[in-house]
């Protein structure tokens, strides 16, 4: 039997992450990183934001966002390094660092959101 490749799964995660990132990250970043700190739009207070983040559905959303966005990065960055730097002898190291980073980040996100108080 032919050895099954992980590639379709990794590509699907990359693709799903790409869609999710394209739709929601710009607005999140615009508000959090620019509009709120610069006072263009009044930032939500601690209490209301905390209450929003307490909702299980919000935390599930945030977890899926982190998980997919990180695997999107891992896949795309891996191939950028392959193509851009042409360091074939380091391909395995790159593979481990990219997906390992994504797994680690997903675990951190899961821990932070699960233990959110």
């Amino acid at each position: 039997m032919a050895k099954q490749s992980n590639e379709p799964v990794l590509w699907a995660l990359f693709s799903a992450g790409g869609v999710f990132a394209a739709f929601v990250i710009p607005v999140h970043l615009f508000l959090l990183g620019l509009a709120f700190p610069l006072g263009w739009i009044s930032a939500p207070g601690y209490e209301s934001l905390h209450a929003l983040a307490r909702l299980p559905l919000t935390r599930l959303y945030l977890f899926v966002l982190c998980f997919l966005a990180l695997f999107h990065w891992a896949h795309r960055f891996r191939y950028t390094l392959y193509d851009g730097l042409q360091i074939k002898h380091l391909n395995e190291v790159i593979f481990v660092c990219c997906y390992g980073g994504a797994i680690l980040g997903t675990i951190v996100a899961g821990y932070l959101l699960w233990s959110f108080r």
């Binding site: 959090l32 990183g33 939500p44 966005a69 193509d83 851009g84 932070l112």
Partner: protein
Amino acid sequence: MTEARQTVGYTEYHPRWYRSRVSTWWWLTRWPYLKFILREISSVFVASFVVLLLLQIRALSRGPEAYARFQHWLQNPLVLLLNLVTLFFVVFHAITWFKLAPSAMAVRFRGKRVPDLFIVGTNYAAWAVVSLVVAWFLVRP
């Protein structure tokens, strides 16, 4: 398996392909190449946004003082500049992603292929709606 290997009898000799050496900086030579690499590099900023989001969640979880410190940190000019650059790349990611959408999913309706422009247009419309919904949740007083 071993039998087959014995009868085929490959030779060790293999001619070398001719490949001209490509510079590591090949992507700097033409604008489309550079655009391709910038598009791929946008993934780094997608990941760095996740880091920022996780820092916010951690601060939020630790209490009002920690969150106030986080908000103060966001006002640092260097952080603002970094967020501006990140925003440029994530918007670039979104635009290039939607541009590729018709090639990735060839939608057919009554046997005819839906025009590319329609698919791109729907993506932009959905982007606007999703952005408004997210903003509505975050901006409420």
